[in-house]
């Protein structure tokens, strides 16, 4: 992009009175703002930018060229599973028969869509080793909240008051946030130096407050990419204290096809379809965070739900609907049940159908045999990177990792080149930066998750660049510290951005421009 020509904001391109379209002559002008109650009327114009169509098209086309996605290049963002989004998913989701559906359409006119819902619920339950899934939550954290609401409803149904949630200190920040939103109190479980749960500390906490523990939330493999070797012991301890085990599905990709959260003793979990099941991730969504439960907890899942009313053996040509919608206590057009205990609603209708459809297409296109390859190949790629980079990048935890590897910055700290500098320099070489400064267990965390999609050639090229940056840090540290040099915008002042964020254009605009 030519920044001189095309680097302006849309507001800076605005010229008073310039238009990109005009309303048709027969446009109904009979209604005026005078009909609106005083309180709803604007006091001043909306200050929208005024541009011609060509200017608008060029502006956004040029902006879009600055975007970086999985389709542009390697995107090794740890803990995020930036998986390739197969084109067939998009083709299926774009089919008119699906894209044209209305959420209030009668069930007997959208049996195919309901079948997709139902089958995906079944597939996820099989892959997770759980009994039943709801596809309604629209994101991972939304799934966490839904799962915790299920857990809370379960304890309430048993007339138990349990308000504490145990969360390892290595957890994703969304875990304590979801617990707090659900009205539960967070208690931190310490980690050992290898990043796994300190089982002795957990035991001590359960002895102190076991009868108040509603659940323990766990990510496995954890945020350091390490499989928790004592997971069976942990789930058993929490169950004995009367708590439920919640599985954060953020890192499910490492295990897909190899082992199942249900078999490890987890009772409730969420899956990020936008991570593990190849639907687009990032850019604000849409995401999808289905929640699954073990047998005995199904009645606490939110409504509405797609249910099978007749077996699949209905004779060919039969017109009776096979799938129907169970709205529970919730009216289809409101979400009034949201504040009460389950069965309740966690949003409008059934979550993001397009995303659900893509995830189902992904599972079907891989098939049962190939799904089993996902976890092992993702793990192989991460371990290959780990072994090839550990000469230049400090590996705080040895041994096998799962789908992602965490380094603690460069081995040679004498140059003053930080993880931030390495990440910025990667942009110069055309790569998306890995996750940095998370997990918090190390000061210079640099977390790489290659996923199973990447070829050896792509990974080797990335490794070469990482070695090159490590060499630059020694020979020309200033070059790395002042990176990026080849991007449309250079090093930004993140301190100023955090301290004095400018969140609106209008403050900086002169009144004479309005």
């Amino acid at each position: 992009m030519n920044r001189t020509l095309y680097g302006n904001l849309i507001f800076e391109l605005s010229k008073k009175g310039r238009k990109g379209y005009s309303l048709p002559q027969d446009y109904d002008r009979s209604h005026t703002t005078a009909e609106l109650p005083e309180v709803l009327r604007r006091r001043e114009a909306a200050r929208l930018p005024e541009c011609d169509e060509l200017t608008v098209v060029r502006h956004y086309t040029n902006l879009s060229h600055n975007n970086f996605g999985v389709n542009d290049g390697f995107y090794p963002l740890g803990s995020c599973t930036m998986k390739y989004n197969p084109v067939i998913n998009e083709e299926i989701a774009a089919m008119k028969a699906f894209a044209g559906l209305h959420p209030l359409q009668p069930a007997d006119t959208c049996q195919g869509a309901l079948e997709v819902y139902f089958n995906l619920q079944q597939s996820l339950a099989e892959l997770a080793g759980l009994s039943e899934f709801t596809l309604n939550p629209c994101a991972g954290a939304h799934g966490e909240l839904t799962g915790l609401m299920v857990i809370r409803a379960y304890h309430e149904a048993n007339n138990e008051t349990r308000n504490k949630v145990l969360i390892p200190d290595s957890a994703h920040g969304t875990n304590p946030a979801s617990a707090a939103v659900c009205g539960l109190e967070v208690v931190e479980v310490k980690s050992l130096s290898d990043g796994t749960v300190d089982v002795d500390h957990l035991r001590q906490l359960l002895e102190e407050m076991g009868d108040q523990v509603a659940a323990m939330m766990m990510t496995n493999p954890n945020t350091l990419g390490i499989f928790e070797p004592r997971v069976l012991e942990i789930t058993d301890m929490v169950h004995k204290a009367g708590g439920l085990m919640y599985y954060d599905g953020a890192n499910l990709n490492a295990l897909l096809g190899e082992c199942r959260p249900g078999d490890m003793g987890f009772d409730v979990m969420h899956i990020n379809l936008h991570k593990t099941f190849s639907t687009p991730h990032g850019g604000g969504g849409p995401g999808s965070g289905p929640v699954g439960v073990r047998k005995g907890l199904e009645q606490f899942l939110p409504s509405p739900r797609v249910v099978l009313v007749a077996p699949h053996t209905v004779p060919e040509g039969a017109s009776a609907p096979i799938f129907t919608v169970d709205y529970g206590n919730v009216s289809p057009s409101t979400d009034e049940g949201a504040a009460s205990s389950s069965p309740c609603s966690v949003g409008s209708f059934f979550g993001n159908f397009g995303v659900i459809l893509k995830a189902y297409a992904y599972i079907l296109s891989l098939g049962r045999e190939n799904v089993k390859m996902v976890g092992p190949l993702a793990t192989l790629n991460a371990n290959y990177i780990k072994e090839r980079l550990r000469d230049d990048y400090l590996l705080p935890i040895g041994g096998l990792c799962k789908h992602e590897v965490v380094f603690d910055g460069l081995v040679d700290k004498s140059t003053g080149v930080t993880t931030m500098d390495v990440a910025k320099r990667l942009l110069d070489y055309g790569y998306h930066a890995p996750t940095i400064y998370f997990p918090l267990l190390f000061h210079e965390s640099l977390m790489i998750e290659p996923t199973e999609n990447e070829s050896k050639e792509t990974i080797d090229a990335f490794i070469d660049v990482m070695h090159k940056i490590a060499a630059e840090a020694k020979t020309d540290p200033e070059l790395v510290k002042s990176a990026p040099h080849n991007t449309p915008i250079g090093r930004v002042d993140d301190v100023l951005a955090a301290k004095q964020p400018v969140t609106t254009y209008w403050k900086t605009l002169q009144t004479s421009d309005l």
Binding site: H443, D494, V495, A498, K499
Partner: protein, 125 residues
């Protein structure tokens, strides 16, 4: 490299207490500010608030992370370092000179559970 100041009491979560008579000045160590990176916001309690040893009394936000402040001792807040409201970066400039809160100690024996500078140095290794 992180600086260490002797004569202070240190906690495992990297807060220090400088004791002057019945008062304690609580801040974060130089090691802590170094690990946090550029501090952009300090969330502090108000005067007359009670703080309890081992419990959170505020937070420090940096460009890398937000970190809870854990009270190393219990007491009543008698003063907060208001300069940090506009200039949180003072913690990066000199963490020991820029304490965060001043408390009236309610139980000076709590200091016995904290580390001296030598023990704290080892803790940071």
């Amino acid at each position: 490299m992180a600086q260490f100041e002797s004569g202070l009491f240190y906690s495992e979560s990297h807060e220090y207490v400088r004791v002057e008579g019945e008062f304690g000045f609580i801040g974060i160590s130089d090691y802590a500010q170094h690990a946090l990176g550029n501090v952009v916001y300090v969330d502090m309690p108000e005067v007359d608030d009670e703080v309890t040893a081992g419990e959170e009394f505020g937070a420090v936000e940096s460009v890398k992370a937000a970190s809870d402040l854990i009270a190393p001792v219990s007491g009543t807040v008698v003063e907060v370092n208001e300069a940090l409201e506009d200039q949180p970066e003072l913690l990066n400039k000199d963490a020991f000179a820029n304490w965060i809160i001043k408390v009236q100690l309610s139980d000076p024996t709590e200091l016995d559970a904290l580390m001296d500078v030598e023990a704290y140095k080892k803790h940071c290794e």
